[in-house]
Symmetry: C2
Subunit: 592 residues, 2 copies
């Protein structure tokens, strides 16, 4: 059985040494004293390790079952869910007006990593609820907010997102689900939605479905789409549950992973729905959920890699095979632990340096979101808009790759289900697909975000990198190992951007054929910047002699690995990009 | 349900346009006229598409069941197995003296790809039998050969390889299974083996286990290991089946994929075994199986990518989402097929150019094996020894990656099991692990094969590349698109080799920390060479106007993609390698 140990120390380092949160001048951040965040993270880590993690393998094996229209979650999920509710974890960063604790999104993100690492399928019930909460909070009427939010914040009701239909996922303009207006101002919703995570289950009293549908008069394509609140049970005026709504689960999918979360076919048969936000402007409201969900999925990607890495390290320390090439390290034992072998270390360092870099990048992004929301900081808003596809696409591609590498450390024992390593890979795999497959993230980045607001946000990012390098050029500890590689990688990224501007003008395929490569380049530059920032903070702590020397030295060494061994990928991506679209688009569709 | 179409046209191109088999001056190759190979491949393709492929998804879902010591294979497997037997496919390249058809290994390899693409789990029953056949054929006594081989060649009996024990996989020196000599010259074998593919099943009358065990007097480590034949049923002198031997299946593993093949825990309790080959020299005999198995696993890697790619193309042609950025391609339909999108094409071309390159590399390798065995060609023997870890390690890493990319083309429909795309990824995953995890392949390549016979074989490989470039430098069709990138990649590979020689001398970790990167570099150079060769052949056919112009033009275009978009990886691997072992080995084991 895999174990899970929460990375509290690393998160404290990021919050306090790197992001320096209490000095950040963001409303709510003044509460984030080191003692307080430490207490919260310790508590969350305990719940994750002791309650959620032990249900991960069993939840995967048992899966969800559909019985007479009711979905049964795996054994133990209900109890664990009650403990999450009792601890107030659901509403950690929710509005106090509706019962939330009003903590910064940053802190909720750190806590979220722990829950996701411990049990991703379980955590999705809560994660989707949070997304639906955010959409209602941002776009709902006062009456909608008071009706739904308090129950969702406490976790008594959960939420879902209903976008996909059998014939349409990415291209929502093809949507067929219909909303017919009724005399009382409500709508009747009819149609079928698929791939609805947590669409039906036995953890909560009610499920609040947010459903995209076409109401009359909206015109063609995505412009005609509106967003509706469709509760499983209608809610009476006094807040009690009324009659069952016309929404039923048609089936649950057999899938590669996240078996503990029910992926449902949802049938809407003249279900009662209530317009959320503006008519025919549902995409805007849905994107409130979607952007949050994309950051959350980017987190899932590296969080699965994180727990897989932890177990790979444990296994590599215990498993005895062969001898160190430089001489036996345990001469009295029958063999050395496999962690002595350079290729095992190469794999573990690939994982470790990615996971810690991605954790920094995700918390940095969460910090941007707090800045945008709590300070109305337009620059932060622009920057996080630019970064969202990178957080989602890059971190999930790499997160899966690293979970697979962790599984590989186990050899044959990683392929059998007994040790749980296969599950980390299978669960991580979905993160590359849902909330916009990663090709869509790359398209969003290159086709939309790069040129958004006249390219201002990407220029701002380059300025941040340049400014950091300039500011720290005098540091011997940083210059060769961190700043020089970061500069080279950033230059590659700028060259690619320039190529897109020049050649994409002539033919947009020249840009789009390089979109996935660009997303990965940018991810590497972002993690490179994070590592440079972490190295500066670690070096400062070492210089100041604040203690915990091993932690800070390890941080420096891990960063050096990232710069030396991950960052060279940018040159490869640049070469792929600048080879242009010709070889990519050469074949006719029937020549493949 | 996925479909499977055998790549007969592509194989014919490789056999006749590229490898020019009938002119090859290898005994047996004179039979390989185009009409003959076409007929064999067509027939094999029919069996693969019509009999094996339809059992792939159902075999995965049903899996194998252990009932009262008997393993039941999935529904339909027994019938399909009988058809394989009836067609004589099991013994295609086996010795006619024992009932085989004596065809070259090359042809059997082409046929093997089809069977593996169609149903990998099913094909393993046969594949392992072939490996056991080869070991007995190479090392058995006359009596052993006549006792076991005819039944194995016809498929009435199957075979297994028993190496791994719970505490030892890679490091066989730790083995505990014991062989005690008996007065009649046989041995009694006692111990437990795990991860035994096809260890027990209901397809054949008898199972011939080849078991590594320690016999007294052999000393420590792998030197003391011998190989034994342990039949499930003892064989009477007249060839009929005698009493049940002391070997039983203890359990079958739950695993990530290849559910149609039973992965068994095998218990040997005073089982009767017969020494195969020399006492205390079992590793040598086992390597006969292992080298063959490693080429076979390398084939599995790209064969899964091949069938996954075929289905991804079909889906991309059918699935309608969005519009081509350069203007609608199906303006009358509701949307364009996703194959119009550059990032989908990038993915499909990544897959296609890898699969076809790997197919060429595998058949080229099979050709080397024929040269080595049928012509006693020492140079070919050395070259294939060098290439074996590359075929296995590179092709399975990339094969899995490409199967995952094919799954990605399906979006959410790839994650659910309904379409079978998850299975291709899950099945492909084992190929990176078994028959020596890929880190072991990299170690074998860098730690052993590079310097084997004074480095003669890798120098021979570089000479082949150099010779090809020189010979074709005058070709305008090849120069810029093929030869220049091949030269650059080959130079990167040589630089890495030089770095290993210089820095590995000082510290072997400098070489081993770059072993996986080197294996991948070398794989790319090999596939680059294959593409250059294929391009030359395709261009020659185009110049000669032999017809089938679309096929040859497509081949050239696919090759250009590989050179432009895969080969730039070599520079990244070189940068990783030359960063040395310092960052890789920096941490103490408890600092991870």
């Amino acid at each position: 059985m895999p174990t899970y140990t929460a990375p509290t120390r690393d998160m404290q380092f990021l919050l306090h040494d790197v992001l320096n949160v209490t000095a950040a001048d963001i409303p709510g951040y003044e509460e984030l004293e080191a003692d307080f965040t430490s207490a919260v993270l310790e508590e969350a880590g305990k719940l994750a390790s002791e309650v959620l993690a032990p249900l991960n393998v069993s939840g995967d094996r048992e899966g969800c079952r559909l019985e007479n229209g009711v979905v049964r979650t795996p054994k133990g999920f209900k109890d664990a869910y009650e403990q999450m509710k009792a601890g107030g974890w659901m509403g950690l960063d929710c509005d106090p007006e509706f019962g939330g604790q009003g903590m910064p999104y940053l802190l909720a993100t750190a806590v979220g990593e722990m829950f996701v690492s411990a049990n991703m399928a379980f955590n999705m019930y809560q994660g989707l609820t949070h997304g639906a909460y955010s959409a209602i909070h941002a776009h709902g009427s006062d009456q909608q907010k008071t009706t739904y939010l308090p129950k969702m914040v406490e976790g008594s009701w959960t939420g879902t997102m209903n976008l996909t239909e059998p014939h349409c996922g990415t291209d929502l303009g093809l949507m067929r689900t219909k909303a017919a207006p009724q005399d009382d101002g409500s709508y009747t919703i009819s149609g079928q939605k698929i791939f609805i995570s947590a669409g039906e289950h036995d953890l909560a009293d009610n499920i609040i479905h947010l459903v995209l549908a076409k109401a009359p008069g909206g015109g063609e394509g995505t412009k005609g789409i509106s967003l509706f609140i469709v509760p499983k049970y209608l809610v009476n005026e006094d807040g009690s549950l009324g009659q069952r709504n016309g929404v039923t689960v048609g089936n649950i999918e057999e899938k590669m992973g996240i078996h503990g979360n029910a992926t449902c076919v949802m049938n809407y048969d003249d279900a009662t729905g209530y317009l959320l936000g503006e008519l025919h402007n549902g995409m805007r409201a849905m994107f409130t959920m979607m952007n949050e969900a994309r950051i959350g999925v980017g987190l899932q990607g590296y969080a699965q890699a994180a727990v897989a890495y932890e177990n790979a390290v444990n296994y590599a320390r215990d498993r005895l095979q062969g001898r160190a090439v430089t001489g036996a390290e345990s001469p009295d034992g029958p063999a050395d632990p496999i962690i002595v072998h350079p290729d095992i270390r190469r794999s573990l360092m690939d994982q470790k340096s990615f996971v810690e870099g991605a954790r920094a990048f995700t918390l940095w992004s969460a910090n941007l979101i707090d800045r945008a929301h709590r300070n109305n900081d337009a620059e932060a808003e622009g920057l996080i808009s630019l970064m969202t596809p990178v957080v989602k696409g890059f971190q999930t591609d790499k997160g899966f790759e690293m979970a697979v590498q962790a599984q590989q450390v186990y050899g044959g024992h990683g392929y059998i289900e007994e040790h749980g390593m296969s599950q980390f890979a299978r669960d991580a795999r979905i993160t590359q697909i849902y909330e916009g497959a990663n090709g869509i993230q790359a398209l969003d980045l290159v086709g939309r975000k790069l040129s958004q607001d006249g390219g201002r946000h990407v220029m701002a990012f380059f300025e941040i990198v340049k400014g950091f390098i300039k500011q720290n050029e005098g540091s011997e500890a940083l210059k060769v190992d961190f700043l020089d590689p970061l500069k080279a990688a950033s230059k590659d990224l700028q060259s690619a951007g320039l190529y897109f501007m020049q050649q994409g003008m002539k033919n947009p395929n020249n840009a789009l054929a390089g979109s996935t490569d660009f997303m990965h380049m940018m991810g590497h530059v972002c993690l490179g910047l994070m590592w440079a920032r972490m190295a500066r903070a670690a070096q400062a702590a070492l210089d100041a002699g604040t203690g915990d020397e091993v932690f800070y030295r390890t941080k420096m060494a891990t960063g050096r690995y990232y710069m030396a061994r991950h960052l060279p990928a940018t040159a490869m991506h640049l070469a792929r990009i600048t080879s242009g679209a010709d070889t990519v688009m050469a074949l006719a569709a029937d020549e493949f």
